[in-house]
Amino acid sequence: MKIKHQLAIFNALTRLLVILILWLMLPILVQNVVYHHINNSLLEKKKKFIEHLNQEEINDFIENPDDSTETFSEFSTLHSEFLVLSRVPIKPHQKKTTFTNEFRKIENEESEYRILQHHFTYEGEYYQLEIGSSLSEVNDLTFVIRFFILIVFVVILFITFLADTFYIEYLLKPFYKIIDTKIRRVNEPETFDHTPIKALSRDFRELDFVLNQMMDRISEVFKKEKQFISNVSHELLTPIALLKTKLENLLQNESLDDNAFDKIAGSLKTLDMLKKIINNLLLISRIDNNQYEANEEINLKEIVSDLQEDLQDRIDDREIEFVNKMQNSFAFLGNKTLIHILIYNLVTNAIKYNKPNGSIIVEDGFTTDHYFILVKDSGIGMDESQLEKIFSRFARISSDQEGQGLGLAIAQSIASFHHVEITVESELGKGTSFGLWFQKPIKS
């Protein structure tokens, strides 16, 4: 998931959380405000009632001949309010004014009321006054408020989410540009684009600046390395050429005795080895230094059959059976010379470490993500400790075998240059199998 999406989602979630808490707290808040308001109005009414109180009125209220309960009740027409005054025989415990929420049935209609209860003494008599105000309307109102606020919140959430997404996208644009045009091309310092990226945030400008600086240094190193490699090639190989020509000319001398002749021939062989080691090391350096183009269309099936032809003499010489089971034509872009060397090295390795009358099988196939080539031999195999170091330079598989152990190091350099994975499986005494795993092109 990209950072812009993560940020937008995170923002939306935190906002949602705040809104949820607010929404849950809303009834309590509303109730507090509303109750406070009702309480005040009830107190106001009580005050008026008490101020205008006299015995006559009390008697008017209470001494209704039809009513034995000594209670007076009065309702507003819509039952939104009521007032009850009753004479109580004993002095009640609580003296203060209290507020409660209770359900009352008034004229067969039950509903919730906020009720003020007040006890007082008037001319030696104890009275209880109750003033109620209906809560049903308030409850309705609270519900409506909650509903509307919910809608408002949802709208706010949606709008801010969109705004966030666009703003984050806008802010991060330079960042993605840096990734696309710079970081992805770190491996090709020659083609690196040094134009500064315009960014609103200072962080990105700094990042871009540092990246440019870093790339300057890398390309400097790359250039120096290239120069070095080229110098090494010329400065080392010219004296070798000189020695080689001298020794070859010397070999033609008729007056040489056999001993001297053999020594010169031996020197030529050593010189040849030296040349090859230098060339191999230079090859690895050149690959790692990105000096090769990778824009040729490569047909692997063709390469394997070419190789078979090239190596037939050596295969026959070792009396090995070479089985070419390549069936698929998988083409990809790369460097043909290098891929040729890569497969050549794997096959010659399979020849070198094979047993007499052994076999080499080259086969290919597809998995869901990859195209693969396997080079299997029925050779001497390797144990795990040998397997670990076969791709490192100058690692020899067994001490009694010749070779300078650069072939597989080269193979790995070439593979990673082409973003191809190279794998190896081996069983001691049974054989080894090298695999090359090519990424299938992404269908767009």
């Binding site: 010219t238 000189l242 080689k244 020509t245 001298k246 090859k276 060339n279 090859l283 010379t337 090295n345």
Partner: protein, 224 residues
């Protein structure tokens, strides 16, 4: 045949010079770009061996200048191996061939022979040795007009030895000539023997070939 050797390493230039003079060429040495161009302008050369790393410039500059003239001179570029761009460049600018350092002198003479034969319009089509005739354009060999069937590799080996007759050719040189620059270190080159053995058997049927020598365990030589 006049050949101009352009090489800044004096010793190497001299070795090549000696070798080519022995092979019957008339040679001259130049150590710098300037010398090379001066020589080129003042004398007629059939071929030029051109080293790329010269003290006063890049060998390509010489090549470019030469190709701007009407000269038909063959140019063989000598370069340190692997500078692939250089090779492609060289062939684009009109080099006729390239050899990577360190090269075998015998390989140089074989390439020189091929290049010169090409610029002369393939007028030289036969090589003969002790009664055997090599037909270069169709890779055939005959003895007293009797054809001998050789494989491509056998023919190449035979031709290489004939072109460098009276010289010891090591197995390594032969292997490199036939299979190219094998990168593999210490690749054993015994399989070349199989081809040589077959070649000899085929030639031996027609005439004794005691002039086709095996020189100790090192290589081969054809004497004339």
């Amino acid at each position: 045949m006049n050949i101009l050797i352009v090489e800044d390493n004096r010793e190497l230039a001299l070795e090549v010079y000696d070798f080519l003079c022995n092979a019957g060429y008339v040679c001259k040495i130049a150590h710098t770009c300037a010398d090379a161009l001066e020589e080129f302008n003042s004398n007629d050369y059939n071929a030029m061996l051109l080293d790329l790393g010269l003290p006063d410039g890049d060998g390509f500059e010489v090549l470019q200048t030469v190709r701007k003239t009407k000269s038909k001179m063959a140019v063989i570029v000598l370069t340190a191996r692997g500078e692939l761009d250089d090779r492609i460049n060289g062939l684009h600018l009109g080099a006729d061939d390239y050899l990577t350092k360190p090269f075998a002198l015998t390989e140089l003479s074989a390439r020189l022979f091929a290049v010169i034969r090409r610029i002369h319009g393939f007028t030289l089509n036969n090589l003969s040795i002790n009664g055997f005739v090599l037909q270069l354009q169709d890779y055939k060999v005959s003895f007293n007009e009797q054809p001998i069937n050789l494989t491509k590799k056998e023919f190449d080996i035979f031709q290489y030895l004939v072109l460098n007759k009276n010289r010891v050719i090591t197995r390594l040189q032969l292997t490199e000539h036939i299979w190219g620059d094998i990168l593999e270190v210490n690749s054993d080159s015994n399989f070349i023997d199989v081809h040589v053995r077959n070649l000899r058997k085929k030639l031996d049927k027609h005439a004794p070939i005691d002039w086709f020598e095996t020189v100790r365990n090192v290589g081969y030589r054809i004497n004339e």
